[in-house]
Symmetry: C2
Subunit: 342 residues, 2 copies
């Protein structure tokens, strides 16, 4: 059996040439499919004429997927890893009320990385970008001890549809766009090596950003964030930015049926998954009462003048720490309930 | 003696808060010092109104610095590492004929990273950005096995001053903006553990992008690239993009005096440093004869219709491979001269 080809058999510039061809061959990535590109992959910088953006607001976001932290090759196909890198970043654009337009892709990998793994990751990135009509305009490839994918997405939002974290007002209702918990439940299944539960695992492996909101809803929303650090963590970010607090009605928090099944098997509280599962990419948003008819998803609570986050269940109110996933504190200060208040 | 504080004592969100404060406290990074920022650090994405760009072209570039590949902590101070990350990216903007405006900073680091090293790297990034009046608008922090800094710079160039790699024409003269070789020579000194030669080492540790070109020169330039892969490698990129060849007059290639001194000590051919030293961030550009009065730097050769790169010295012409630094081929196919042609 012959040795599998690695990226070091192709070289940096051969790899870039391959990416360029793949990106140019695909639909919205085809040459000139996106307006305004003066120079794309293969120059020192990409050069764009952004006149077609008009008076829309330009959005920039960047997010890294690191091997061993955000994915393991044993759990996900290379193409899924690439797709997840795009979805994680697209979700940040969705959370601003915008649409992605262009992408820069940086990949660090060891020289020993198999060429077919490299190709798979890039196929995932190109295919997921294509689905969002997002054009890859440049990037960087370098050596590193582990695989790290850093995507930068450039998007745009209409001025009156831009959604920041900071606009939530006391009395606003809190919504989440879809049921939660499957990502953490899927991770739990993989971590414990449990067979089956393919639907739950699929939700962990193939997360999707949520671009389902209408312009009217986006215009009415007072604050928005995507759930990437966990419901409590991200609600904490909204509350901090908006200088407010929140009460969640525990019974109203929608739990993904696949998360429920897995939680039963794993002997884990499904509500804990729903409160802390990151990488859900559901949208968490606030809406004033007069715009309730526009709401999408599930009403889960209310913004309060009183600071802090409280869970309300069967007449019992409990203060919770808004801690979500923290890259460096993980396992040190675990978020969660820290006592009944009244 | 108490244990030194690490990033895991502060946590991801504490670190982001610290970066935000540092960035906002500094000159051009002070709040609203850059026009058009609707949302900066601390939301899902940065939101900008780019009306002040007018009809300029927008530039995007991204580059990664990885520990062990681009820097070693034993050789450079944390602040120098941060500065180098900015200069490497700024140089790509300079090579397009533009100026940087905004930056996104992604850092991956192990939990054990000392807080003062983290702070030093960010001070370097903030201070170097400030010098270019570039505002940090967002980024990402995640765990990783090694330190990796990925910067994305957003810049702008006047339409008629935009310089691509692809415009070189046969007959154009080839120029380099300043003497070469000190970066590779400095690296050689560090690698061999040689004391002294501080000036040479300083050039390796503190590379600088070159923004010294006037608008008139930029408008006259037919192609441009920054020397990050080595003179031959980057000239190769220009030739490939421009579908042309080049002849370099070996005697005209300016060698940095500090590279010369170090080469003597290291018993290394100084011309080899000048031809292959990456991370020089000097500008390599082509200029048609009628614009020679605008030229800056050193005339080192000519673009030819005949493909391939040739060195011309004392009546001898030698074909060279245009290979520069390749992250994955390094040490496998070494660039350089491969035979006398005539």
């Amino acid at each position: 059996m012959s040795r599998r080809r690695t990226v070091s058999d192709i070289g940096e510039f051969g790899l870039i040439e391959g990416i360029k061809k793949l990106a140019e061959a695909h639909g919205s990535n085809a040459a000139n499919a996106r307006k305004g590109i003066i120079a794309g992959i293969g120059d020192d910088a990409a050069a764009l004429n952004l006149k077609h953006i008009g008076d829309r607001v330009i959005l920039f976001t960047t997010d890294t997927l690191a091997e061993g932290v955000h994915f393991r090759r044993g759990w996900m196909l290379p193409e899924e890893i690439g797709r997840k890198a795009v979805e994680a970043n697209a979700s940040d654009i969705a959370a601003m009320g915008g649409k992605p337009l262009y992408a820069l892709v940086s990949l660090a990998a060891p020289s020993s990385l198999e060429k077919n793994v490299f190709d798979g990751i890039f196929r995932g990135i190109v295919f997921a970008s294509e689905q969002y009509k997002t054009k890859i305009i440049g990037g960087n490839i370098s050596r590193g001890k582990e695989i790290q994918i850093t995507l930068t997405l450039i998007g745009a939002a209409k001025k009156d549809e831009l959604c920041l974290r900071s606009g939530a007002k006391p009395g606003d209702f809190i919504f989440v766009s879809r049921p939660l918990g499957a990502s953490a439940a899927g991770l739990g299944l993989f971590s414990r090596g449990i067979r089956g539960f393919e639907e739950t695992k699929k939700k962990f492996r193939n997360p999707k950003a949520d671009f389902s909101f209408s312009g009217r809803l986006l215009a009415a929303v007072t604050s928005m964030i995507d759930i990437s650090d966990g419901l409590l963590g991200d609600l904490g970010h909204v509350c901090e930015s908006s200088k407010a607090g929140a009460t969640l009605f525990t019974g109203n928090i929608p739990i993904d049926p696949d998360a429920l099944k897995a939680a039963h098997r794993l002997n884990h509280d499904p509500l804990d998954y729903a409160l802390h599962s990151g990488e859900e990419y559901a949208l968490l948003y606030t809406l004033p009462e007069q715009h309730l008819p526009l709401a999408k998803g599930f009403l889960i609570g209310e913004i309060t003048r009183k600071k802090g986050i409280y869970l309300f269940n069967n007449g019992v109110r409990m203060a919770v720490k808004p801690k979500g996933f923290d890259h460096f504190l993980r396992g040190k200060h675990k978020g969660g309930c820290h006592g009944i208040v009244y």
